[in-house]
Subunit: 486 residues, 2 copies
Amino acid sequence: MKGFSLSRAACWAGSPLGFLAPGSPSPLLSHRAKAAGRMAENGLREKILTLESMNPCVKRVEYAVRGPIVVRALELEKELQQGIKKPFTEVIRANIGDAHAMGQKPISFLRQVVALCLCPELLSSPIFPDDAKKKAQRILQACNGNSLGAYSASTGIDLIRQDVARYIERRDGGIGSDPANVFLSTGASDAIVVNYYLDEEHNWALDVGELRRALNHARGYCQPKVLCIINPGNPTGQVQSRQCIEDVIRFAMEEGLFLMADEVYQDNVYAEGSQFHSFKKVLMEMGPPYSQQQELASFHSASKGFMGECGFRGGYVEVVNMDPDVKQQLAKLVSVRLCPPVPGQALLDVVVSPPQPGDPSYQQFQGEKQAVLKALAEKAQLTERIFNQAPGIRCNPVQGAMYSFPRISLPARALERAQELGQAPDMFFCMRLLEETGICVVPGSGFGQKEGTYHFRMTILPPLDKLLTLLEKLTQFHAKFTQEFS
Amino acid sequence: MKGFSLSRAACWAGSPLGFLAPGSPSPLLSHRAKAAGRMAENGLREKILTLESMNPCVKRVEYAVRGPIVVRALELEKELQQGIKKPFTEVIRANIGDAHAMGQKPISFLRQVVALCLCPELLSSPIFPDDAKKKAQRILQACNGNSLGAYSASTGIDLIRQDVARYIERRDGGIGSDPANVFLSTGASDAIVVNYYLDEEHNWALDVGELRRALNHARGYCQPKVLCIINPGNPTGQVQSRQCIEDVIRFAMEEGLFLMADEVYQDNVYAEGSQFHSFKKVLMEMGPPYSQQQELASFHSASKGFMGECGFRGGYVEVVNMDPDVKQQLAKLVSVRLCPPVPGQALLDVVVSPPQPGDPSYQQFQGEKQAVLKALAEKAQLTERIFNQAPGIRCNPVQGAMYSFPRISLPARALERAQELGQAPDMFFCMRLLEETGICVVPGSGFGQKEGTYHFRMTILPPLDKLLTLLEKLTQFHAKFTQEFS
């Protein structure tokens, strides 16, 4: 009986990135001999897992949203707690789309249902409304052992996959969705290799000519297979037109690219005249050959929208026109992870099947939801207005999602100073901003931007009064910074 | 601005396995030309993502616990629901360590605390005890925005990492644990490449001679770096002696292997004279050079033990003597996943810092915990006794964890029949068992077993009366099966 196993490189909990792939060049082979030599020299053995013996892919991974700026922000918070004097009294984290961290209150109904699922003894208490109880009972009946503590199927609880499929059908005006194509997930991520630039002059529009340029460039050194789109856009906040989506689908079809649509901001559309169109709906309405052949995966989650429940890690992906063999491999692969977190699945179920008119919780649910979306729309406009009043800052309208991506001018001496420090110029700006004001935003260089332009991504999530202060401090800092380096 | 990206192969939500590693041989390069040719022939384009264009590593992944037996069990459940007649009225899932699915009730205090965190308005209701409220308030204060819906730090909530470190210190008799070495996680997985056999004749003992044989064999075709141990053992249910753990540590040190200890069953020890020893404690007590140099990662979770909360996906890993650069890479890597599910972190916190004597919930908590562990101990003994009364079945004592791994004799004609079907003999047995009795267990071939021996893994989790029925039906079926093929 196999009681343990030996493996070629470390794989941390759920993180197969740590593997050296079987076909990849192995820096390990000569490693042990070298290590043994060093051990003999100083009596101390070298570590087994070292940077040199690690899969080089791991070292190349970068994630701007939780990068050095955020590490420093955490340090500053600790220093403030220790009583160290700073030119500010708190760190304002505008770096990540984390609504609750910024004070947004949870939607009551969502939490009531999950709490009832956790403690079914609450079902007999008058503390929660009847429709929350019914919803909780329905979810518990679909759980193994009627408990959120049991594993679900790897692809998620069947009933919830059905509810998601019905939600997609309603969203897309009746176009069919098969629950068998819906996989519940722990979140939504994507694969980033080749970069493309949006057109800032046309409000971050997507242009197929530029798509083609990037693809042809990429084909010089790899074989691109997947095109990832985020709509509404992160970090740029644009909402794509129906025409633009059609163009992208045609391009993907012509070029033989699998489409991945990150649509987690589908409820976050603020600008008048802007409307969310799902890739699935547009694809289906384009008819054959597109609707029958173009492969697509569309992602959604409970982390954004009006609910902002990032901590639950609840999401789903719907696959369209996927090769059945590949779908089977996908199902096998997710089974290794056992199942997505069940409290997150339960919460997602409430998101996709909310209270209906006439239900006891309908009014309150709608009231809370609309209040969140209205406040976000106001903050989107405020952000655009204040930034565009400041010399040297230019900000496109925040049509959707929860970010602004303003362009900043930086004086030549600041660019020189950044180069001396080995930093991207907007990283230099953002780091200084953080140290002097406590405001934490992400440099545009972390997302990719046209050569010679500089940006930062800032969420519009802080409460209105705090956002106003933030915008004022930020524009003042930019003016001071410009003067200092001019 | 980069609005999307092109990637070389599909990566499904959080599943980087789907990538083709940069250095690996690419079956894609000739793929598009071929596809274009076929498209011209029949007017239909070939799929972009196909089995041929997929990373071959993905195809090689196998996971017995959710393999074909479980797929068939789910189908049978659906057929029963549709009223199709079967020789049984329900499927009994003894394939997976999922306590709640088998009717185990959650520990009240764990659920109360998480429900209070979800709905802080319950804090002012008399419905839950005061210590649960205090615990919930303490957790919420440590959450961003005081909400379970906010992202936590990627490595987990600081306060909970501290609580875990203190738990480890208590468990290990005061040996220090640094919260900076504790990473909260979504579960615990391991990397399986090379197999080794435990000694069934000596109650699944680990033997260093056999370890060395397997290692030398593996070195013929790869460079093993990691040794994974599960203690208490899954699927074999053995609890390793302190001496055995010392031997393994010495072996790892001599051979330059990183140790991964899956210790999720550390609370599940039943046999008299058996005791859980953590690898960390033994390593530290062995003193230098082991305690200063041997690298170790130890995993634990809220899924097993007395709590059985699999659905929450709450766990942690403690790393010991890890290269600081590698630890930094690990921290970076987990940040891409944003954070482990926060409800699972909260639940884990209660597991590692339970009610203390004098707290209002102490008696009830201890009562519920001990009742679960006592029932498991009884079921472990019952399972061993009944199996060993049956001719042709032999079962080692279930010292710990939640599985028995009995060895079964299979008649020669059954082996022939299995070969005709292209199935492993114990897969053939288990599939027939499922079809005729509704009992779902996992064939030993899915875990690795000595050539010419046959086993299955069965959990001891069903309620006592159901377990008794299951054991009787299973031994009867084995007798009938033996007769049929003799």
